[in-house]
Amino acid sequence: MSRTSTLRISRRFLRVWQRNLMVYQKNWKISFIPPFLEPLFYLIAFGIGLSGLIGNVRYQGAEISYVQFIAPALIGVSIMYNSFFETTYNSFVRMYYQKTFDAMLATPLSLEEVITGEIVWGATKSLIAAAIMMVVITSFGLIQYPEGFLLLPLAVLGGIAFGSVGMFFTAVVGNVEMFNLPVFLFVTPMFLFSGTFFPIENLPPWAQHAALGLPLTHLANLARAFATGHYQTILLWGTGYLLLFSLVFFPLALLKMRQRLIK
């Protein structure tokens, strides 16, 4: 690492973000479909199919319907998926196959600005997806407002957290197949065991503790609290966790990317 007396991150990272936005706008009609249909499918399958078997769920001392329980978690999952898959597979394609980063690095952009632009873009995709899903879920009457609006800043925070950890994996994997490891060892278990489809209280105690270490647990928890209007001060811990997670993985992603690309 070279010693530098000028800061390597300026607002110029927005140029990288703009490039991704421009490409996204070219096929936004297709990009809009998954966040629109996904909650519909889940709500129909689980809401109509499963809730008859399950009935109500106890949440914060009250009984809520199963659909009410999972709908906010679906937003949390979508926040995770959108940024994580953007900064893993999509960023990897741009970095490795398209040499887009190489081209950017020959301009006044710094490596840190390129990577920051990518992560912030990942968070933007999380935000877009969350907003679309909110429209769909609101039409089922499953989000309380005004608390529900807190889901939007939550999407940005969650997007930065999962975008950063995704970018970290992109910096360390040798080829695109190796993403299977973080996907099946990190993302898929989270999708299932982070209090998304059942309360983590149903797990044995050791697994409950383990689940508390997962970022999606906190993201889903916060999303549920905001959607149902049940937020309490204890939720600040969840926000703190996501902030801390970002503060660890964001600089780590920058560092590992520098080691990978500048040689």
Binding site: M1, S2, R12, V23, K99, D102, A103, L105, T107, S110
Partner: protein, 255 residues
């Protein structure tokens, strides 16, 4: 190192009199780079490639569009503004990479093997453009393995082998100095010829089945060799930069 791809392991590096470790952004905004690998953005069209690239330099939108159109007509691609990059041929892509490197009107243009893998037509097209730029007074730093390209385009040439500078100078001067004016290539040389060359102390390179003779006296020697020692398989030609390169760096295959 000049455009920040490799870290410096020691010493100092200045471009335009500026220190690369401190003023890297200012330096990078004044250079244009054509990388060896195609790094055009396949998600964007021809025009968008230039406009998006201009944004990385903070060039205002209107100015960027004008410059992009001017450059596209310079590389004769102005009829395909909205074509996806993937539809372009290899030669056109290379020209577009050149145009992209010029978007910021650089003071220094860096070209890394710009014509590797191109067909002869495309190569000559690119050379024409580069000569045009040279006439306009842009400094060009070019790396290449093609000696024909180097002698045609370079005012000052450096041959580097394993990281060490072997020679430096104008192409013609290097040829005169290290090989001479003319070269005779003889395939299947006879013993008599070898002893003739040795007795007359003519500089030559012996490759076993092939002899390369370097000389100065405009044809006289060639006449004697051709008439007395080899009626066939004997060719005289003008010395080139390739002779210099092979003589200095050897003929073994490289990693």
């Amino acid at each position: 190192m000049v455009y920040g791809f490799s870290p410096m392991d020691g010493g100092s590096l200045q471009v335009f009199g500026l220190d690369i470790s401190r003023d890297w952004r200012q330096i990078k905004s004044r250079i244009g780079v054509c990388q060896q690998e195609n790094s055009l953005d396949p998600d964007l069209t021809v025009l968008e490639n230039l406009e998006v690239f201009a944004r990385y330099f903070n060039i205002p939108r209107k100015q960027a569009r004008e410059k992009a159109k001017e450059l596209l007509s310079f590389i004769a691609l102005d009829h395909r503004l909205n074509a996806p990059v993937a539809e372009l041929s290899g030669g056109l892509m290379r020209r577009l990479v050149l145009a992209r490197a010029l978007i910021n009107t650089p003071d220094l243009l860096i070209l890394d093997e710009p014509t590797t893998g191109l067909d002869p037509q495309s190569r000559h097209q690119l050379w024409d453009r580069l000569e045009g730029l040279r006439k306009k007074g842009i400094s060009i730093l070019l790396t290449t393995h093609y000696m024909e390209e180097a002698s045609r385009l370079c005012d000052r040439l450096i041959i580097i082998d394993h990281g060490l500078i072997l020679v430096e100078g104008k192409p013609e001067e290097l040829i005169r100095e290290h090989v001479g004016r003319d070269v005779i290539e003889i395939s299947g040389p006879t013993l008599q010829l070898r002893s003739f060359l040795q007795s007359h102390q003519v500089t030559n390179e012996d490759l076993g089945h092939r002899l390369i003779v370097y000389f100065e006296d405009r044809g006289e020697l060639y006449q004697r060799i051709a008439l007395d020692y080899c009626r066939e398989g004997c060719v005289m030609r003008t010395a080139t930069l390739e002779d210099v390169f092979l003589k200095l760096t050897g003929r073994e295959l490289r990693e």
